[in-house]
């Protein structure tokens, strides 16, 4: 996981609530066994004109507007990432080039998946999100800075807000830490727990073990 601390970028506005992971990456791309190459499929059904054989980009969809190319921040409304647990959604967002998503709330599973992929999720109040959405919609050069260490979001038009983040998640993002390695620091506790727990046969999945 790539460490990240301060991110300054223009932002792509997607002013919709409840954007589910089926929209972020449709099911047909879940058949792949690779972990990379999902960026081109992000928001596939919205992004391409699927009625034409050539499947050319839909010029009305915000990701296809040249002025928003290269933005690393996505802004959306509440309950972003709801629905299916597919981590492909986080991979697609990351591999397209986004490093952060700003929204009032995120769905739980998407929230953990994003963290595992070094994506910063910033929760701001509905009003603050609306301000940023409006500014990015009006002005594609609207630039936002997310400072993870300071837990602040600022922009080049005078906006400034503080956001909350779990300290452990912040630490992992800033240091780009692999979770499995972190857990394995506690392997002595785990061995001890497991030796006792294995005797509690009532919770053994395959009968008494």
């Amino acid at each position: 996981m790539e460490p990240i601390n301060v991110l300054t970028s223009t932002a792509v506005p997607l002013p919709l609530p409840n954007i589910d992971t089926d929209q972020i990456i449709p099911k047909q791309f879940l058949k792949r066994i690779e972990r990379t190459g999902y960026g081109d499929f992000l928001f596939y059904d919205w992004r391409y004109n699927l009625d034409s054989p050539a499947k050319e980009p839909n010029p009305d969809f915000v990701l296809n507007k040249p002025e928003y190319k290269g933005s690393q921040i996505l802004i959306a409304e509440k309950n972003f990432g709801c629905g299916s647990s597919r981590e492909h959604a986080a991979w697609a967002i990351n591999q397209y080039g986004f490093r952060a998503v700003i929204a009032p709330t995120f769905a739980d599973i998407f929230f953990s998946n994003a963290g595992k992929n070094g994506i910063i999720l910033v929760r701001l109040s509905e009003d603050d999100v609306k301000t940023l959405l409006d500014r990015s919609t009006k002005n594609s050069k609207h630039e936002i800075t997310i400072n993870l260490e300071a837990q602040t979001v600022t922009d080049n038009e005078g906006f400034s807000a503080h956001f909350d983040i779990d300290p452990f998640r912040k630490y992992c993002l800033i240091n780009g830490l692999d979770d499995i390695g972190l857990t394995l620091r506690h392997v002595a506790d785990l061995d001890k727990f497991e030796a006792k727990h294995d005797k509690e046969f009532w919770s053994a999945p395959k009968g008494a073990m």
């Binding site: 066994i33 059904d45 647990s85 499995i180 506790d189 395959k206």
Partner: protein
């Protein structure tokens, strides 16, 4: 005396391995269920890091999402090369890492959330995870069960634990007798309609009350299954005699004296008198009616005798916008009576409603009737076990003579990863759990209903009030 505890707290505390300062607790996972779609990258991760599966005996794998449901032969040789590669990857990975695998033709194959309970692998008091959001289903047994992403699947494979922040607790009490024609599906649709699709985000939900106690295990699984559609990762129901009766004698259930000891242990799990929850909600079961979702989010729900809501019914500005978008996508006008909505397709199946009881209920409606000429309809049993049982009871004959297709087990049209999809503009009465845009095929329009309501819609050609139908 120890402080009173909730079911969730008891199960949680019995699985905390360590609570490192400044980090989320490390939670032991008793069972991980594995399927073809969310596991290949996790196995690959292990391989790249030179790691083993810590406890292969605490893993069970099957194929469900991708497999064709048309015929046994189509499943052995999958025509879609990418899907076939994914199924083969799972076969290979299970052999390499030592995971018990129920392949397409196995007697125990089925949707991953069907086979855990059927095998007796899902039991009260366990922690269960799977790379699939509907893992909440297993909570019906008093297990703490939740969906995870692929990185976490790999984490569990490597460590049999998860680093997991503790959720808050939310009790939803449903009291009273369910009216005639109203099912578990209608209870959970009504709950989601009430609290919204993010209403339970951050909570582990416990369903309680006399209406829940009165449900069979099948009904309880339907309810816990859709907890995720209210934003909750986990839904739980306290184990009781109904739970024990379901589990007794199953392949992975304890036997003999071990069974008695297990039951004694499970009886300590229900929430203690006086335990408190972070949030509570009460629902009066006697006021519920059969429901139909009208929009593109499971919270967009109306009673069958109601109408498509108007913009004035939207609670917030954001909801107004979603409503407007949903009218257009679903091609519906506000104020349209739900029973005027015509359907082109009917799907009975999925991990929400693909169990034997669901098939019996649907068969009961269609018996001796025929589906409308404008409708195509299919029944996809959730597992091999359900399919066998249904065939023994002659349900397949009832469905086939009514014009339904009778399929092989799998996820099928619940998400349309296999060839079972809707065409653009087609409208489907579906017993599954998600009505998102394009969920059942691009441009397809999904209405979520109970098996009874789906069956009645197939015959009538439009949604119809199953309460009047049966009388």
């Amino acid at each position: 005396m120890a402080a009173p505890k909730t079911l969730f707290e008891k199960v949680w505390e019995q699985h905390v391995v360590a609570e490192p300062a400044g980090e989320p607790p490390i939670l032991y996972i008793d069972l991980q269920l594995v399927h073809e779609v969310t596991s290949p990258q996790a196995f690959e991760g292990l391989r790249l890091a030179g790691r083993k599966l810590r406890r292969p005996d605490r893993h069970i794998a099957t194929v469900d999402h991708n497999v064709p449901t048309t015929s046994a032969q189509d499943r052995l040789v999958i025509a879609d090369q990418i899907a076939a590669a994914q199924v083969n990857a799972l076969r290979k990975n299970c052999a390499e890492f030592g995971v018990e695998f129920f392949d397409v033709q196995d007697r125990s194959q089925g949707i991953v959330h069907m086979i855990g309970p059927e095998l007796g692998a899902t039991k009260p008091g366990m922690t269960i995870v799977c790379g699939d959001s509907h893992t909440s289903t297993h909570g019906a047994f008093g297990a703490l069960a939740f969906g995870i992403g692929t990185s976490e699947v790999e984490h569990v494979m490597a460590t049999q634990t998860l680093s997991q922040p503790k959720p808050k607790t939310f009790r939803i009490t449903v009291d009273g007798e369910l009216p005639f024609g109203v099912t578990a599906k209608d209870i959970i649709l009504a709950i989601i309609g009430e609290i919204g699709t993010d209403g339970a985000t951050g909570y582990a939900v416990e369903y309680a009350g006399s209406a829940i106690r009165a449900l069979s295990m099948e009904g309880r699984m339907t309810i816990c299954n859709m907890s995720i559609e209210a934003g909750a990762r986990a839904g739980m129901i306290a184990p009781d005699e109904t739970t024990f009766a379901y589990l007794k004698g199953r392949r992975f259930s304890p036997q003999g004296t071990a069974w008695d000891e297990a039951v004694a242990q499970w009886k300590t799990l229900p929430t203690d008198e006086g335990a408190t929850f972070d949030r509570e909600l009460h629902i009066d079961a006697t006021e519920l009616a059969p429901g139909v979702t009208w929009g593109t989010s499971p919270g967009m729900y109306a009673n069958i005798d109601g109408t498509v809501p108007t913009l004035n019914d939207a609670k917030t500005e954001a909801d107004k916008k979603s409503f407007a978008r949903a009218y257009e996508y679903m091609d519906l006008k506000p104020g349209t009576p739900m029973s005027d909505i015509k359907v082109d397709a009917v799907f009975v199946g999925s991990c929400t409603n693909g169990r034997i009881e669901d098939l019996r209920a649907a068969a009961d409606i269609v018996k001796g009737q025929h589906i409308a000429t404008t409708v195509r309809a299919m029944v996809v049993p959730g597992s091999q076990a359900v399919k066998r049982q249904a065939e023994e009871e002659g349900l397949d004959t009832i469905f086939k003579s009514a014009g339904f297709e009778w399929r092989e087990p799998g996820c099928s049209m619940c998400l349309g990863m296999n060839p079972d999809i809707l065409s653009p503009g087609e409208r489907c009465a579906s017993t599954s759990n998600r009505n998102f845009e394009g969920r059942q095929g691009r441009g397809g329009r999904t209405h979520l209903v109970s098996p009874e309501m789906a069956a009645a819609a197939a015959i009538a050609g439009h949604f119809t009030d199953v309460r009047k139908w049966k009388q």
